[in-house]
Amino acid sequence: MTLTRRALMGYGIAGLGFGALGLPNGARAQSGELTIAYNVNLPSFDPTVGPSAVNPTIQGIYQSVFDQYINQEPDLSFTGGLITEWGWTDDNTRIRMVVRDGVKWHDGSDFTAEDVVWSLERAGAADTGNPIQFVWSKIGNFAIDGNVITADVIEFEPTLFKWMGFLTGYVLPKAYYEKVGAEGFEAAPIGTGPYMVDKFERNAYLRLKANPDYWGGAPAFDTVTLKFVTDASSRVAEIESGASDITLEIPYEEYDRLTAKDGLEGVTTPVSDIGMIFLNDIEVMTDKNVRLAAAHAIDKSLIVDRLLSGYGVPIDTLQTPEYAAYDASIKVPYDPEKAKELLAASGYGPDNPVKFTIQTTRGFKPKDYEMIQAIVGLWRRVGIEAEIEVYEIAKHYELRAADQLAPAAFYNWGNSVGDPATSTGFAMFGPSPHSVWDTPDLIEKIAPLWGEANEEARIAGWKEVDKYIAEEGYVIPLIQYVQPIVHRTGLSVTPNVSGALHPYQVKPA
């Protein structure tokens, strides 16, 4: 091949073009900077209204900028946030909170008890669009005395203070918000959190700068950039190319591959997100033998090992070991022979299988469809013939709210508050729009627990309910998910059981 002058010029220009545009992506991290390839977008900055307010994954971003009334630690325990002491009066008719001293908003103004009261009143008002308004509206008639706030209990809600460290439990700046309005706040939000908003490009990235006066201590990094990379393969490319220092929620196979490479490390933690199969009290699911057979026929350990590369924890109730009402003694073991016996008692078997539909998402959670495929295969062995129907998660929500789910439906339930009321309670209490099991026996068992003031009795009560549900087979808990986080060497990342990745909890190793 002859290299002509024209061809040489062409190659030269092409090379210059690549050289000019192409940037070395590796080793971009500069001292004091941290870049995270985040798995979700941040649609809105107000953490108390709209759909993003109830998205658990986004809370890690909100908690970088705003503080909660009460802090939730990585292990789901609660410690002082912007209120340092809290509690009920003996007769549960009033609450008392002590506001933290010496805290400043990002604009330098003082944080006061008025901010707390205003935030709680706003959250409880029906017209502000707070999705958790039904909790916040249960207190009112606030009074401020120095740093102490008292309020009347309109309706006793035992989990009230847990909600203060959970969804929409954020304190916003009264004076600033009233001055700039909702739109102004969206454009330039301020909080009391460890990081201040420096620049926000919607759907692209959020650049945060350190709040050096943070009451919990100055953050480890001067600048944190959260890139919103919602595609898992793109997040893998981000960390592998060195363009990001940390990423999360990637396929387990990729986690194993990446952490085997030089310069990358990882951490996996069981999080407060479980895979489960809702059973609806319709068709064959009204037969206890069928329900229990379906539960006993599933080898959860096998599913975790084969499909999730070992990253998952089999569970037998809707509580994970980190939750307040976890009871290790409740077991629904894999026992295919027992499943066959139960089915035989109802006239079913491999030659005369019981038939029903199971709904599942595909790709919404790791290996969701594959898990259901495997379960259907295990069921077939004992005499259950289930037809898989794939739907979108939006359809699941709609059907569940309307109590129109199929006899069986796969779902993942998050409960980072760790309270049984927000796991077993909301998932299994018939009148709840999230529950599809509506039999009176279970409603009668759960109903008294909503207002139970004695915490020990309340937790014991929920354990009893979980035991009853397991005996009756009203739901099939499957696994507790494990969250994979990959980061470059030289960082120390503290994972949260809640599943939220907090930039503040990332430090140089």
Partner: protein, 335 residues
């Protein structure tokens, strides 16, 4: 174009837009999933559901909702996004420039590459070069744009990390531009650093989008050129001593490019549609990425706004193509 035909065209556009408005409004309400169910917190009661439905105007009948929405559009109010809690028109227009710039860059790549391959193939017809070009076109056409995107990410983003694999501009760069047309504005401002950064971010998604289209252009144009090259006036030009390249470029191209132009116009609309997946893959902050999020969140006002804007865009592109076609084709220009 006469006044009568202009009015006819205008009426046609209005009817089209109304049809699109009706279809999108009905379809996204009939489609599975409702936005209230998506944002229901644990413990929400029927009263809470009703309250949220009323807050977002979903408690009214379908007809009432449509009339309110249409009335708003006529006043320039496209509603408020449920997930973003912002004015829909502002959000959509804010994101449109990113998508237009990406699609435009992809189109430029496709046209330049397509024309180059077509001319080369015509010059070297019935040679190994033409065979190689046909093979290349076959490959680029049979691999969809998102697979090209993945390939580029793996090769030029990870294995040889030359280009950024996500975003439109580096988070480190602060710009205070008047418009969201960053690329065009950076050129006008002679802002080399920003231009370089934008082009670096745009390179992989634009090439991924443009490659399949370049193959279509190359094949159609090459075929047209071959047909035109046999006509008398081209033979005459050749007999007059013009070189082969001059014959193709000056004489044959004008007639041969007419079908290609129509094709480019139609394909450009598909190309804009194709940005949806590519923007998602590269986390590019354009309209396509916004559309995916809107669908996932069942953000009805936002989906409606995006689809309507896409329709306006497609109509505008068709008009531009028609005008360009008329300008190039004397038979159309003179009625």
């Amino acid at each position: 174009m006469t006044l009568r035909s202009l009015l006819g065209r205008l009426l046609n556009i209005l009817v089209t837009l109304f049809g699109v408005a009706v279809v999108v409004f009905v379809v996204i309400r009939v489609a599975p999933g409702n936005p209230i169910a998506m944002m229901l917190p644990p413990g929400a009661s029927e009263a809470d559901i009703d309250r949220l439905r009323a807050l977002y105007g979903l408690d009214k009948s379908l007809v009432e909702q449509f009339v309110i929405w249409l009335g708003g559009i006529l006043r320039g109010d496209f509603g408020t996004s449920i997930s973003l809690r912002q004015d829909v028109l502002g959000v959509v227009l804010g994101r449109l420039p990113a998508t237009l710039e990406l699609a435009f860059a992809a189109l430029v790549i496709a046209v330049v590459l397509g024309f180059a391959l077509a001319i080369l193939g015509t010059r070297r017809r019935q040679s190994a070069t033409e065979g190689a070009i046909d093979l290349w076109n076959g490959i680029t056409l049979s691999i969809p744009d998102f697979l090209w995107g993945l390939l580029f990410i793996l090769v030029l983003g990870v294995a040889i990390p030359l280009f950024p694999v996500s975003g439109r501009i580096s988070p480190r760069i602060d710009i205070d531009y008047v418009t969201n047309f960053y690329l065009f504005e950076s050129i006008l401002r002679f802002d080399g650093a920003v231009l370089r950064d934008l082009l670096a971010h745009m390179a992989l998604p634009a090439i991924a989008l443009g490659l399949p289209l370049s193959a279509v252009i190359a094949q159609v144009l090459k075929q047209s050129l071959k047909e035109v090259m046999g006509l008398d006036y081209v033979m005459l030009a050749r007999a007059n001593g013009f070189g082969e390249f001059a014959v193709i470029w000056r004489e044959a191209m004008r007639n041969a490019m007419l079908p290609t132009l129509t094709l480019v116009g139609v394909q450009f609309t598909f190309l804009i549609g194709g940005t949806v997946i590519i923007e998602k893959l590269f986390s590019y902050e354009g309209l396509g990425n916004l559309a995916i999020d809107a669908v996932i969140n069942r953000d009805l006002p936002l989906i409606q706004g995006i689809v309507l804007l896409f329709s306006v865009l497609f109509i505008a592109i068709n008009i531009v193509v028609d005008l360009a076609y008329a300008a190039l084709n004397p038979r159309l220009r003179h009625g």
